[in-house]
Symmetry: D3
Subunit: 220 residues, 6 copies
């Protein structure tokens, strides 16, 4: 399931990330997947202060977003990485690693996140494409938008034809690893939030009973 | 979980069962559990027409009760049996068999059902007692009441001190064998039935999405 | 997951279905969901011989399609229904019922199927739209194409602006009810079919070991 | 499942808790559930030394009770809280939160615990009532008794008609979150403890084989 | 897990099978797995009366063996097939099919069974070899013995160096498909059968409680 | 499943362990299982520097072995213990504890490991025997070999008839506790490693999709 959030970043934050991208050094993105020949992008050098500042900014935006947290039930969040696809770059069809070597135990990537920094009018191509068998979902967000999507699908970043696609990417380990269970619980929580005040208190108590016990049952 | 339904049988049906009990022959209830020395009761001989009529009456009552069907998600129902505990009889602490040799494959007993026929004032003792560790639930219904309870608990019928305790008992294989899952789905269905008409249609669609997919997930 | 199959029906079969639709009587589609006010379509009267002939034709097409069977692991297939959306008709956002009252036990709908009969150029609107949170997949197949999609998503048929959208719809109970498990097994079977002959026989035996045991583990 | 333990606290400990309750400050119990209008009780201010001393006393009692530990398979225990229901106070029907914000990750409440401090003759009302559908279990322990019960049921504290109900409450995350699995393993461990020495060593080894592997299978 | 049963067949039955094997026609065993080049054996033509008689004899032996039934929890049994490995024949490393096209739905093979008919001294080679990673279990039973083993392991029949290896093979769908769960329940049932009479009745009731509920939980 | 690795230790390491065994003090192995009367062996006193050096050597060998790590998906490894079975000693049939009190939370033993230090020609008896129902696997490795086997089986160390059996033993908590799931994922990883380079990249991506999602699904 997908959650696209408009204005996940403020215009000022987009501006800051754009400037940090100009100050930092970018290195070959294949560093983390040297065997993936389909990968051609650049990531901000994690040792550079400007890169670290960009990561902190993105992380803070995630932690303040109730909407995002309700959707992903976050347990751990990988350090977000400023990532650049310049003209001709792309990331061919791939599946995100199940476990990332970040801390101990390694972080399981359940939900992937892309935060769009570039204005979509400033580059051609570069859509995020997720495959569902013979059908696909294509996403190209506005500057400041974020999209959360399941790490379990094969997806690609289409080749950038012109311009630069600057994004921040991160991976989240969820308290509820199974994506169908996670979305069912999210859905019931949303119904409760939107309809709960109208309900008879006895029915609301029963709704809470169901939600709390599904949460216990499915959290790993 | 328990569901006690008042007036599950009409007064006329209670009267009919009482009369059928007088017409039929009763045999030793240990027939189906000869090794259970704690069992001391009588069941109506299943070969007698009056016994069969009693079974049909109870089965029809079950099939017409929307309340009961919503609670148990019935898949198969064992032939109900008219059962008598006369003075001094009882059924000591036991667990209901997991599978009953009724048809092929054998019927899994998920939910047990007792329909009370005798007036509770006409006999002393004879309570149905379910054990939950150190605590217990004791039930002695009015004539015509029924109680549905999980087959998974150790329970007993307390000794009858005086009078006769006439009941009909049966066992139900549920579409949802796990009792916690069954009760969660029942609960969400009840909330939907009682609150659905007040909901915004978008939220109601989301509620239906959650309910239908839990039903798919848990039905065996 | 989605599987769109081109030319699932031959042009002659499309022609036959078009003619059968002209011969049969159509009745209000709400018959099976009277409470769904968002439903506005017509289904061929199942008592009419022409309707039954259409159902048989669609069923035969399914049974001959190795591609479809590999994808859905069919256990039971509902009687396909010729369905018409005339100008102004639609089927608002809904979730397919978890269980259909077809036979005993009821048929669990795991995979839904739409077979397109009308030429897509002959009607405006009428797309099948599946929702994945904030994103969607829209499908409008060519005459003779079929699409198989999970019954577990909220979806709609967009309003038909002009013309008539004639389709056949059906629902399939899969041997593997969980959609993620079903797609993983399908994927490994595909890899084995396409790469098996190149493999060392020892590795192929190991691949078969994994596939056979996942199949045992997940079939319900 | 329930476990009521008599004399969980010694008379001296009951006396100490009674005195600590007199020394500490109590604050509104709604602090942790401000939205629950049905909650009306007082908890000892966790910043007060006397409150902390009460918590430590209760925690130590838990850790020394083999009986309690065998029953709950504790993984983490929440800080116990001295809680007071004065005349007119109650805690209406509710479900305990699935996760408590105590430490990182949050503590999942699988088993709830009430330790009775007041003499039951000193207050009217104030029973702990757990609901199992239409039936209920009512508990009012002696001073020094403790009861452990599943956090998964809707329950209430009945209004206190007169006097003061002083208790200590806590919540335990179990190594075995599913309550049915936890109780089955507890049961087999008890049978082994009570009957093991009589068994042929070959059968005892087989019993241990089953118990150890169920423990591996169900611990999360 | 393995169960080898000595004298599963009587000497007279072994004699009868030997004679039936002489009367019937054998056909290429690859019939059921034409793609398996590693398979080289002969099976009795299922259309021949002598073959059918052999199958019935083996089936009857299975149904009368309490020991076998306790071990496999049989739900459906495939028609047993008289099978011959003559000098030079073998069945290379393979995994048994997950589902056999016997009846509707297809039969899931959970447990495989070999009944030895030939005197092991009359042929060289021909051991049944099951692989557990780098280790193996080798079995060559006496005439009349049977072995039940999990269908989930890669196994082979070693080449017959001289003589003829005559066996009957069959496949069983178990009520409890998972092999670890099946063996745990079998183990607890055995302990109960061997130690139950020595137990205090309260502990025996608790043991029955655990066994009945594991049976409900794991039967599919 | 078993994995026997030849030359897990170098000859120099075997020599070092042999010398450390001569320098350190051995204590009664029953220390960790005082109730197990069938246990008769000696373990190196964990407080002795020579014992600790032996543990470190074994641990380092484990961490450098890609083969072992691929097989066990290690999450935590218990401190390896130098263990000696002198003439007449043995460890009767037993099941390894499900949880070892090493750190917090306790370590779940999923995979057991024996590293052979003595030359097998130097002692009689002392085989490691794992039971699979009526069949068994017997292992007596060469000096420097290691064997990894499921902690879930009943096993024994046969009595040492003459000489000394010096081994190092340890226990591993796996990321994938279920042994069948662990072996299926290991198998698919092996096939991918051995055949991946030959595959069309599209099929390899699909294989990776299946492997990554099984890893997410099964890791606890």
């Amino acid at each position: 399931m997908f959650l696209q959030i408009e204005n996940f970043l403020t215009p000022a934050e987009v501006q800051t990330l754009t400037e940090l991208a100009q100050q930092t050094k970018f290195i070959d993105g294949r560093r983390s997947n040297p065997h993936n020949t389909a990968k051609s992008n650049l990531i901000a050098d994690p040792n550079e202060p400007a890169s670290q500042q960009a990561s902190q900014l993105a992380l803070a935006a995630f932690h303040r977003s109730q909407e995002a947290r309700n959707f992903v039930f976050p347990q751990r969040v990988a350090v977000p990485a400023l990532t650049s696809y310049r003209t001709g770059m792309h990331y061919g069809a791939h599946i995100d690693s199940a476990f990332l070597p970040m801390g101990q135990p390694p972080l399981r990537s359940d939900v992937s996140c892309t935060i769009f920094v570039s204005d979509p009018a400033s580059y051609q191509g570069g859509e995020l494409v997720s495959y569902f068998g013979t059908e696909e979902v294509r996403i190209k967000g506005k500057a400041g938008d974020a999209v959360f999507y399941p790490s379990t699908t094969v997806h690609q970043v289409a080749p950038v034809i012109s311009g630069e696609r600057l994004v921040v990417i991160t991976f989240i380990e969820s308290q509820i690893p199974d994506q169908q269970q996670r979305h069912l619980l999210y859905t019931l929580n949303e119904v409760r939030a939107l309809e709960g005040l109208k309900m008879d208190w006895r029915n609301l108590t029963q709704m809470d009973y169901a939600i709390a016990n599904l949460h216990r049952m499915w959290a790993r």
